[in-house]
């Protein structure tokens, strides 16, 4: 009986610890790649987004000129975007843009704030491309890709 009680207590403690671990994990948001509703494409690949945000391509797949807009440094979603879409740590991306800017070759997308600012800009500017937390998406923008 005593052993059963001890075993039960151990199971309960272990369950509480596991539950605490699970609920303590940060819930990482899905990233929505958004464009102005007038954009003439229905989707875009992660590779195409990467090429645009690293200034290697200046046009959408349909040939329209693209204006990428970034989020401010320090935003968690920016680090997630850099890691999941660009495949780079923040320090690697800073080094990349340092090489491009100070060789006079390219410049990074303009950073205009957080989710709300990016959504407002993309909703008002045809040709723009940005990324926001997928939970912030509404009818003012068109989602071309969701990154999990």
């Amino acid at each position: 009986m005593t052993n059963n009680i001890k075993r039960s207590r151990l199971v309960i403690v272990a369950s509480i610890l596991c539950a605490g671990f699970i609920f303590n994990q940060q819930v990482l948001a899905d990233i929505a790649i958004i464009a102005h509703p007038s954009i003439g494409i229905e989707s875009i690949t992660a590779k195409e987004v990467k090429s645009i945000f690293m200034a290697k391509k200046k046009k959408f797949p349909n040939g329209d000129t693209v204006i990428p807009v970034d989020q401010d440094a320090g935003k968690e979603i920016k680090s997630e975007f850099n890691k999941k879409v660009l495949g780079k740590k923040d320090s690697q991306l800073r080094s990349y843009w340092g090489r491009m800017i100070f060789a006079g070759k390219k410049k990074p997308p303009k950073a205009i704030g957080g989710d709300n600012e990016v959504k407002a800009y993309v909703a008002s500017n045809p040709g723009s491309l940005g990324y926001i937390d997928s939970s912030k998406v509404d009818d003012s923008v068109k989602v071309l890709l969701t990154v999990k």
Partner: protein
């Protein structure tokens, strides 16, 4: 009363116009910069040459530098880019226009540049002053300093830059022509081609070739011998950054017609591994010049270092180098006659 209204209207209109002009200017002009504070010390009284000039056992802040990059978008097709640069050299700070050129986008793939342009030979040469962009305190000196005669800081002229991006790869070619003047020597009819291939920004391969005619105005025997000689260089190199591994490998061959003192070869290899915010690395570099002459110059250098990414836009570097001087002065004014140890620390910032 009417005068007050007119005056107030003029003030308000002026402010509105200047606000509008400011907003327009702020959209079109971007200003960025970099700075490095560098302290190095050897165990010899003989000073180092080139970027290390002035570094002895007394220690030196030589290499400390600041740069300001100003870009202006003139219209959809034309950009003006410039960089002002100030660095400590021996006892003074020297400021100059590092580069300043106009870039005209002729097509989606082709750009014409004209002005004072950063020299496109050497994997890191176009951003060699920006410490934050690489692992070392300074790019491998047996390859990148003036003594090796492999590359140069910039040139005055024009280039046609072609770039073809794919989903995971990028090909580019830079055809350039112009001239350069440096410390009593001019190189005219400087023409060359640099081609780059990149895959997924993880592997980059570069090959360069250039030639130019040297013109010297001095009366020293060496300068007279170099005058009117063709200076030709071939380089091959690669940069690899896969997962946490970082590697560089570059080789160059230098020829100056029948001026054997100028004929040389250089090579360096770097291997690093990123562990969190720390990137330890090791570099071996070797250089030889004038081997078939009475005064050959040869040097090898091994460096161990670590870069620490302390906070966003700020890194700290520590290095210790062993410089062999038994086969020539190399980077030194005069050969110290022993293996020299050099210690260095640097702080780099981007803004």
């Amino acid at each position: 009363m009417l005068k007050k209204i007119v005056f107030a209207t003029a003030i308000i209109t002026g402010l509105a116009l200047s606000q509008s002009a400011y907003a327009d200017w702020a959209d079109k002009v971007t200003i960025t910069g970099f700075a490095s504070s560098t302290y190095q010390k050897t165990d010899t009284g003989e000073p180092l040459y080139g970027e290390h000039a002035g570094v002895t056992k007394d220690g030196s802040w030589y290499g400390t530098r600041v740069g300001l990059n100003i870009n202006a978008q003139i219209n959809e097709k034309i950009i003006f880019a410039s960089q002002l640069f100030s660095s400590r050299e021996e006892d003074n700070y020297v400021s100059h226009l590092d580069w300043g050129f106009m870039a005209i986008q002729l097509t989606d793939e082709l750009t014409l540049r004209t002005g004072r342009i950063k020299y496109p030979v050497g994997i890191v040469n176009e951003y060699r002053s920006v410490g934050s962009t690489y692992l070392w305190i300074a790019p491998p000196q047996l390859f990148y300093n003036a003594e090796a005669s492999i590359t140069r800081e910039s040139y005055s002229g024009a280039s046609m830059y072609w770039e073809m991006p794919g989903d995971e790869w990028l090909l580019s070619a830079n055809l350039f022509y112009g001239d350069d003047a440096n410390e009593g020597m001019q190189t005219k009819k400087l023409s060359g081609l640099t081609v780059n291939g990149e895959w997924n920004d993880q592997i980059m391969v570069q090959a360069s070739w250039f030639t130019g005619k040297m013109h010297t105005s001095g009366t020293a025997p060496m300068e007279i011998a170099m005058n009117e000689r063709n200076h030709t260089v071939i380089t091959l190199g690669t940069r690899i950054n896969i997962a946490n591994f970082i590697a560089y490998l570059e080789w160059a061959d230098v020829d100056m017609d029948d001026f054997l003192m100028g004929k040389g070869e250089a090579l360096y290899a770097t291997l690093g591994y990123q562990i969190g915010d720390f990137t330890p690395h090791v570099t071996y570099q070797t250089f030889e010049k004038g081997l078939d002459t009475m005064s050959p110059n040869e040097q090898n250098m091994t460096t161990m270092g670590v870069r620490y990414d302390w906070m966003p836009n700020l890194d700290v570097k520590f290095e210790v180098s062993s410089i062999e001087t038994d086969k020539g002065a190399g980077l030194f004014e005069k050969a110290p006659g022993k293996t020299v140890t050099m210690y260095g620390v640097a702080f780099d910032v981007l803004f």
